[in-house]
């Protein structure tokens, strides 16, 4: 088998390396940019695709949901690259093969696409919801395709109500690292936290499709995105010196995703954090590490951040590297300066937190907390130029003054608007869009 040429990765580190005497916390933003697939016959990486469609009884209420799901799945099938193995799964309280009818993946071509679309046209709604069953089937389907970039789409309209939360958690844990999964909720009866847990564990995106009419475009885009991935199973490898502690590792752009708990120790001083598959894209990570405090004049390497690709045989190949340093100084002008990128993403992560906390408080009737949290969110979103979030917030609160975060909760809020705000709370903007972070 010929190995496709790996894409070019560049790693840039943004930080203020200067610390006052006695300090030991080092913060840095690590920006990773991948060139995507290298052009040429060997450029296209191998891929595998599974689509999981909710066929529970509620999909017929209203019936537009089931028909939109059929249309979207057919659009996704059309977007699968020629030769890429795929399958379609119907999800209820059990998982059932739609195409092919037995548990394996078939390569996409004219006839298999036509057969798959015909099978999708025959999909009907009926039954309950047990998402762990769907994930387990997808995992079985990907078995034997470990050298491909494995991607799944999961569509649901309801709560995962025919199993315990533990069943779902266990299934997610088993699938971590096996495939990536983009999750979509249709309508307003599904639970944001559930899909966020699946997408977080399986390193995919989560979003609401409030209007079924937009579903086909969204499905097509997700499959095209997956087909554009050039390298699977990329990990952020962090080396940090003896005596140090990694306090947290978060992806902070394009969305906030805490990777701290996902560390896989790879050596006495190094650990890997999964980042999934990469196409032509750029992501930012916030790394916070506590090192032994130094004396003025000392310089230390606080973190060596590498992007590594793990091949089929488990060998790691370094794709790019950046250094996070600590330099102790008694010049307060140097050590008190907060790095602009670090400040920005600290704000964006807080923005995601206060939106989720504010909506939670609102749900349980704690309106004072909800007002305070969502007010802070309005302030952070405005200051950082996160216009999409500002717009979503304005459907949940009336903004009196964005600069001070003075807001009033709206008396009536559309469910879809609230879920859209919750779902998209983790979307961030990059530095440079704001007007007060200079």
């Amino acid at each position: 088998m010929s190995t496709p040429t790996l894409p070019q990765f560049t790693v840039s580190v943004y930080q203020n390396e200067f610390l006052p005497e006695g300090a030991g916390e080092v913060n840095a933003i690590v920006t990773v940019t991948s060139s995507g697939a290298v052009a040429g016959p060997t450029g296209a990486a191998r891929a595998a695709q599974v689509i999981m469609v909710d066929c529970s009884g509620s999909m017929d209420y209203p019936s537009a949901k089931m028909s939109a799901a059929r249309q979207a799945t057919k659009a996704a099938i059309d977007a699968i690259r020629e030769g890429v193995p795929f399958a379609v799964v119907a999800g209820t309280h059990v998982a059932r093969m739609v195409f092919p009818t037995t548990e394996y993946l078939v390569p996409a071509d004219v006839s298999t696409r036509a057969a798959a679309k015909a099978a999708v046209d025959r999909l009907t709604a009926g039954g309950g919801t047990a998402i762990s069953q769907w994930l387990s089937l997808a995992d079985r389907l990907f078995t034997g395709h470990e050298d491909a970039i494995r991607h799944a789409i999961l569509l649901t309209d309801g709560k995962d109500e025919h199993e315990s939360p533990d069943d779902l958690a266990l299934a997610i844990a088993r699938c971590e690292g096996r495939f990536t999964c983009d999750c979509r909720g249709i309508g307003t009866d599904w639970v944001v936290a559930e899909l966020r847990r699946i997408a977080g564990g399986l390193l995919g995106s989560v979003d609401i499709v409030a209007d079924p009419i937009n579903l086909a475009d969204d499905f097509r885009a997700m499959v095209e995105g997956a087909m554009g991935k050039a390298v699977a199973d990329v990990r952020l490898r962090l080396w940090s010196p003896q005596g140090s502690t990694i306090k947290f590792v978060k992806q902070v752009a394009p969305t906030v995703l805490d990777l701290s708990g996902r560390r896989l120790q790879t050596g006495p001083l190094a650990g890997d954090y999964p980042t999934g598959a990469w196409g032509a894209e750029s992501r930012d990570y916030h790394v916070c590490v506590a090192v032994r405090p130094g004396s003025v004049g000392d310089e230390m390497l606080a973190v060596r951040a590498s992007l590594v690709s793990i091949d089929g045989s488990g060998q790691a190949q370094v794709l790019g590297q950046g250094l996070v340093r600590a330099v102790w100084t008694d010049d307060a002008a140097l050590s008190t300066k907060m790095n602009r990128q670090v400040a920005h993403y600290t704000g964006q992560a807080e923005l995601a937190d206060v939106i989720q906390a504010g909506l939670e408080a609102r749900k349980v009737g704690d309106y004072d907390t909800a007002t305070a949290k969502l007010g802070r969110a309005v302030q952070l979103a405005a200051a950082s130029g996160n216009d999409d979030t500002t717009r979503l917030l304005s459907k949940v609160v009336d903004v009196e003054d964005p600069a001070t975060g003075t807001v009033r909760l709206k008396a009536r809020v559309n469910d879809a608007d609230e879920m859209a705000l919750d779902t998209r709370s983790s979307k961030t903007v990059r530095v440079g869009k704001g007007n007060s972070q200079g």
């Binding site: 090192v291 032994r292 102790w328 100084t329």
Partner: protein, 364 residues
């Protein structure tokens, strides 16, 4: 071609070898017949390249310049290096508050057995707000020394050679900046030079590194350069004294430097005619921030009765004063004898009763 500096000294036949290739050379040879090495020039060796164990944890493996175990910056041979050519000696030290030694020094002695001996010294101080300043300082020091040695061996006068040499360093550091195209803070440094000949000391500088004349036996010691700083301009204009001028918050900000964005004026060059024996001191501000008075420096170098223990020891003592004072910056100290000859004349520095130099020695 009558300038004796371009010719080897007459002398008895003696078995000598070339320092460049080891070939046998005759005492009368100015250059090695085999490899062309200049036999009349001795230069200081550059900082070593040996890998030292980590001072924090004793580790011996380093990656990217940091200890594989505790992350500490790998110790550099540049952290402290001492060189001694007999008639010129120098110490360059990281100090206590900076993680790297961004200063550099380079020096040479020319024709020490001839009738026209000369010592050439260069001190450069990397600008800390630029990236990789030690690259600029080492490149500028080497380039300037090379140029000066070549020019003096060709019989060119020290003042014109000094100006041209510093401009060649400016060229070299500007070329280095091309490696840092996307940076606005390309490597930069200051420079101070001295050419010590019989009857004349020629100094050149850009920035705030200094050259001093330290007179032996009661002569008048003095600073030979004026800093390119706000404070330096005030002092040179006679408005305030040094202690007052350097109290201002931005007094140390340099107005001129060697680097790609440097102001285009030519380097400062002066010459000075000593009237008695003494020492020429070139140093970075890591030293003179602690002791700026020329007479105090002369005393600390040991130019007092019974204090003299040699050039290299004097460099070490001066460096120790700055370290004991706090070592806030890198410290580089290079001393050269005047007159530029080796022992036994050097003992005259403290034993002779030469006349004190006059006050009119400095020519702008």
């Amino acid at each position: 071609m009558t300038d004796p500096r371009t010719q080897a000294p007459p002398g008895p036949p003696d078995a000598r070898t070339c320092s460049g290739c080891g070939a046998h050379v005759l005492p009368g040879d100015g250059y090695c017949e085999e490899c062309g090495t200049d036999l009349l020039v001795r230069r200081n060796a550059p900082p070593g390249s040996a890998t030292l164990p980590c001072p924090d944890c004793g580790g011996t493996a380093f990656t990217d310049g940091y200890c594989d175990n505790c992350g500490r910056l790998a110790p550099s041979p540049r952290d402290r290096w001492e060189r001694d050519l007999g008639v010129v000696a120098g110490v360059s030290d990281r100090g206590l508050r900076h993680s790297r030694n961004e200063d550099s020094m380079a020096f040479a002695v020319i024709g020490e057995d001839t009738e026209y001996p000369a010592s050439v010294i260069v001190v450069c101080d990397g600008v800390s707000s630029s990236i990789d300043p030690q690259r600029a300082s080492q490149l500028a020091a080497n380039t300037t020394l090379d140029h000066l040695v070549r020019a003096l061996r060709q019989g060119e006068p020290a003042p014109a050679s000094t100006s041209a040499a510093i401009q060649s360093a400016q060229q070299a550091v500007t070329t280095l900046a091309e490696e840092y195209r996307d940076r606005s803070d390309a490597p930069s440094c200051t420079i101070a030079t001295a050419v010590v000949e019989r009857g004349r000391v020629t100094v050149g500088w850009v920035g705030d590194s200094r050259v001093y004349w330290l007179a032996a036996d009661g002569g008048v010691s003095r600073r030979l350069t004026d800093d390119d700083t706000w404070a330096g301009q005030l002092i040179a204009g006679g408005a305030v004294n040094e202690a007052e001028a350097y109290k201002a918050p931005h007094a140390h900000a340099i107005l001129r430097w060697i680097g790609p964005d440097a102001p285009p004026e030519p380097p400062h060059v002066r010459d000075f005619a000593p009237e008695g024996p003494g020492l020429v001191l070139a140093c970075s501000d890591g030293l003179w921030n602690y002791v700026w008075d020329a007479a105090d420096l002369a005393g600390l170098a040991g130019l007092t009765a019974n204090g003299w223990s040699g050039l290299a020891a004097a460099c070490v003592s001066l460096t120790a004063v700055a370290l004991q004072g706090g070592g806030q910056d890198n410290i580089t100290t290079v001393l050269a004898y005047y007159p530029p000859t080796a022992s036994p004349e050097t003992t005259e520095i403290v034993s002779s009763n030469g006349t004190a130099p006059s006050d009119e020695g400095i020519e702008p």
